[in-house]
Symmetry: C5
Subunit: 326 residues, 5 copies
């Protein structure tokens, strides 16, 4: 197990001048508290190394509450301030798949080192490693606070991109001319709402995390970086809320169209019925077989009746016109 | 009464090195403020020992407001900071039954002892006692703050598990293909909503308790543990809200399906009526018994009328086609 | 007027050892700031003693803003911190009547005295006077802060009891099997909602009062008691909100039942119409009196037509079966 | 312009002992910062005296940001803390008209003077001037903080009275027995909601102003008075919200009545149709002119058919009874 | 590129006495930290000058996090407090177009200089430059805090004007007499709601920015100005919410009119049907060709039947009158 752990663990050590990427050959090599001015970024893939985690925590005199925290089965997004150490766990949306699943990531941060633990290799943080290696930007001039900032920014940027991509798709499917008062269309709208709720839950959770990071007071941890990404999450949430309101409008429209169509249908039926029911009744009257119906014998009876029917129809039409039914 | 009380009360005394489980033989033996460095966990089953509570509180010089608090008939979830002492009362959901009833638990906590009072033996905290006995994890290295943390975590974990179990059940019953626009289905959705509101009320109440615990400032009580479980409750509440929004979508769908079906039904009726009402009227006209209806005598009258009827039908169908009714 | 005032004013003076109940014989006797260690509870019934209030306030060097406050026509629930003095006014629900009216109560509180002014004698606080007289509980060991706590607790307990009593009534009337999609049932639900809003407004108002009491910083006033009753109001509000959500579900059910019934009614009409309208039309055709309708002369014409009608009916029924209309 | 300004400006100077009402004869006479212990209340009607405002501000060494603030075209409700000076601007509802328009008022307050600027003379503050002149209450014993409190209280009391007057009107029009499921009634309810929203906006705006006044820390400005009126606005808002919930219930009732009536109408139509459509069809059958319809020749054919029709009707009625349609 | 940058960059340098507008001839000329008491307003059009930005930041020893911030692709509204420097980025609504697009603006503010970066020249801030040149108002007496205040006020005033202009348009189109229960009208209302949501999002975003500016504590930056514009945004948001509630009322009205019309239509159909269906049935009965129908032979049979029909009609009309259907 220890070998697997060592195999799945990488160390990047850097300062303004130096950059070195390596692996550990034994657990005892993992020295987090040495006094070198370099910054260390340790990355582990996998959460099941309970014994190794315990050894490292005890060897390096880290807060032993970390042992309990790393044993936890499930991890919600949380920030816990330990003795001069931050424990950050994030439930990241897996945005590369159609269905938005979640993946947990853990970050243990002190001014000197950042230890990230992920489920399996992904492509979130590749560009950060590249910037470190190439000494691009200011990342190598800064400490772990800036590194944590870049990591969380990468997650948010990813959310934003995925959100924008999905939004375009949804805009195309739900555009105004497509609105149909059918359960299928309602279903499309409601499914998009579900997706937005998922995004919103993830974004709010991330925002809460950053808000807590912003309030952390550990010597050597600069929290100004976090206000930048906090505002990014706030804006993402505002965008999502905006689209949710758009969809709510579509639901209103669907119900309004349904109501309107029903009115149209019933008006059609009623107008036709109101005109023809009395006429058909009259025809029925003179279709009766009574021996003594004097009108039937009248020479112009048929024509007089037709005239009466025209008058009745005209009155009915005039009545509906006055009531503005058509 | 005193004997019953002693019988229903257990003491677990522990430190990193020691662990001892015992019973008291008299009330006067219950010494909460001695200077031993051991941590004491006293557990009592039952709330009716008013006199015994009073004796213990006065004998141990505890804040006498505790007397009033322990006499209270009903206990809502509350945290009260007394002189160097915490009074915590929680209304716990009984998650082992189908119907979600409540059970009250009281915890009186100082840095040296934790006195828990429950209605009757349950299986919430067995694993904590086991960890204490087996010296698993870090619990014996820590004081009562950590013990209280484990206790509340056990309650939350229980809520989460029950919530997840019920959610699966509900997902199976309410799945998309089952949506029917009937009152019965609406009732299913609304009942699940009621259940979620019950969970949410319990989770919010617990969250408020933990928030207050997090702010407590008693020497020797470390509040960092509580941020961990606070975030757990926040996440549980977010999950519940998410499912509530899902259910709200289903309600919208139900109404949309109802509206759609009504439209379909009425269109069917109207189309058929609009086609046949004029035809039936015409048949009625020529079923009249006027002596002088010239058309009746025409050799092809019948065939001409049939032709007219076909034309009327075709016009009606064309009209509905143009209006996109089908 | 002075005599009426003295007549309607009672003094209870108590300490751990002493208890005395008396009346004042003149306004000048009312000495609120003497240095006795006893606690004084003065109670006045009636708000119209403007001159007497003014005299007492000036004689005892109380904050003269009290004069203005006691002159106010209407009193909303408020807490005002004056010079080492609390002015508390509460709009109490009169829970003894069916209709929930309000009654105002004023409490002027310093560490040494509590002056309560009520509209007219009620039965809210009798048990507190009894506890004082009998030296039950810890009330005589405590000062006015504890007395104010007991008074407000009495008000809340009263709300809770009334709420629970009304809830049972409402549960009986609105139980699931009674749900009817009629305006009368909707009215029952909406009336209960109104009642709950009244309770909620009173409970929120009381909670706000207690929150402010909790923050008061007057030497000798202990605010820990108020956290206990604050949580009680929070729980009452949560209970009310829970029932409100239940009622909202019933409204949804009512609309769902209405929609469902309309669909059932219209389906019945449409199915019957769709089957019979063509048949009646056919009967009308062969009821016409054209001289030349060859079918009428056919020996089996009648039976053939009946056969055709059966075929049409079967097709219509099959069509509706396929569409799952019944 | 200066003369107009002097003409429209009045000075009331008062202390516990003195009261003097006067006009200024020149701008240079306006000395706000003299060391007299009297309190000055300057009132100006009109906002267009830009030059005069500037002169007074510069002559009296007031914060020059006041110049900018007094030039503003439009004034929203705001409180701005300047150097030992408060700038308060309030958008007051004109409650004397049927339509609730707004009027702006500005108050510049220091411990020694209060300068109020209003659009035109109104009757809001007459009673305060009267109290000052008659030395009623405690107003002359207090400084400008108390004066500002009385001014804002006058505004709120005015809102409350107008609100209550309008509420009575609305209660009369919208009472339970008047509820009709018509657009006109819906319109009445929605118009009352609009009016309430206007009140609520004004009350919230005023509450925010008072909240800010409560937090102001200027030497010599006592903020305890403002808690009294803050609670008054909070209560007014709660009352408005309560009535809004009542109106929302009426909207629900309207829709419920509409749905119920539609159901009743359609049931009537359907029951009648279901009974008569088959009967009319049967009559149609035996009204056909086929030469060979044996039943027609049967002696009791007519009576048998009538019997069959009675049976069909009875079955239909029984069917609807079983379905609880009537 | 450097030339383009210098070309698109302008410097306005001012104090109470001086005013000078100029361009830089090289990057090295841009000296932000010199000790002159003048205030500098540098304005750049365009965001793509990455190298130039970096040079200026490093040359002037500004916080190097600015480099990262200025490289960002997308800018949400944000305020970041750097070392004695404010980074403000605002997403401004482009109110000059019909469709409300957004444009980003960046402001870097220290007590001595304000560096604004915009996409392209606009007419927002022309009047500020004019006031500076003409020494109108107090702007030249103040530092960059006041300048930033004027800039943001210009943005808000612009929002308010655009909002008011659009509101008038919308009021004209959506006025009470125009309400139609059609999808087109619903669409008008929902589109206006979308527009309001856009305004509200922009206004909330701006308010959050100002709230953060109000809390900034940099020596030499006076935050009192920002309370003035904060209240302006709060009022704008309240106005928007008010109109949103108005529109929500219109949606309720639309549904109420739809429901009412459907009821009217169905009542018309039902009344007519209930009257004529039995009559037509009776006519059908006596149109049957049974050889033995005694009534047909009666001399007054026809007249008796007509009498029966009149009675039936009168009963039906009386029934509907009693049910208040018309
Ligand atoms: Mg969890
Ligand atoms: Mg980025
Ligand atoms: Mg979109
Ligand atoms: Mg960013
Ligand atoms: Mg954005
Ligand atoms: Mg809606
Ligand atoms: Mg809806
Ligand atoms: Mg757990
Ligand atoms: Mg689910
Ligand atoms: Mg946990
Ligand atoms: Mg979870
Ligand atoms: Mg809904
Ligand atoms: Mg109680
Ligand atoms: Mg209930
Ligand atoms: Mg209690
Ligand atoms: Mg309770
Ligand atoms: Mg309860
Ligand atoms: Mg609803
Ligand atoms: Mg609804
Ligand atoms: Mg404005
Ligand atoms: Mg009042
Ligand atoms: Mg009312
Ligand atoms: Mg008042
Ligand atoms: Mg009131
Ligand atoms: Mg509604
Ligand atoms: Mg962005
Ligand atoms: Mg302006
Ligand atoms: Mg408008
Ligand atoms: Mg302004
Ligand atoms: Mg405005
Ligand atoms: Mg609605």
């Amino acid at each position: 197990m220890e070998n697997t752990f060592l195999n799945k663990t990488t160390l990047i050590q850097y300062s303004d001048k130096n950059y070195e990427k390596s692996k550990f050959s034994s657990l005892s090599q993992i020295n987090l508290s040495d006094n070198s001015t370099d910054t260390k970024w340790i990355n582990t893939y996998g959460f099941d190394f309970h014994d190794e985690f315990k050894t490292i925590i005890l060897d390096n005199n880290l807060d032993d509450f970390l042992i309990k925290l790393l044993m936890e089965e499930e991890h919600d997004t949380k920030v816990i301030l330990l003795d001069d150490l931050l424990f950050v766990s994030i439930n990241v949306l897996k945005t590369d798949e159609k269905k938005l699943d979640q993946e947990k990531m853990i970050f243990i941060v002190s001014p000197n080192f950042l230890w990230s633990i992920q489920e399996k290799p992904g492509d979130y943080f590749g560009w950060i490693r590249q910037r470190l290696e190439d000494n691009k930007g200011i990342v190598r001039k800064k400490k772990t606070d800036y590194l944590l900032y870049l990591i969380i920014e990468a997650i948010i940027d990813n959310y934003e991109e995925t959100y924008l991509k999905h939004e375009e798709l949804s805009d195309a499917i739900l555009e105004a001319t497509n609105i149909r008062p059918t359960p299928d269309f309602t279903n499309l709208v409601e499914n998009r709402k579900q997706e937005l709720f998922t995004f919103k839950k993830a974004a709010i959770s991330l925002k809460n995390t950053i808000v807590k990071l912003e309030k952390v007071k550990i010597k050597g941890v600069n929290t100004k970086y976090f206000s930048e990404i906090k505002e990014q999450t706030i804006n993402l949430i505002a965008d999502i809320d905006f689209e949710l309101q758009e969809l709510e409008s579509k639901i209103n429209l669907i119900f309004s169209i349904q109501g309107h169509r029903l009115n149209e249908v019933m008006k059609t039926l009623t107008i036709l019925s109101v005109i023809f029911i009395p006429l058909t009744f009259l025809a029925g009257i003179y279709g009766m077989n009574f021996e003594n119906i004097p009108e039937l014998k009248s020479q112009n009876g048929y024509y007089i009746l037709l005239g009466v029917m025209v008058v009745i129809s005209v009155l009915a039409v005039w009545y509906f016109k006055r009531k503005k039914w058509f």
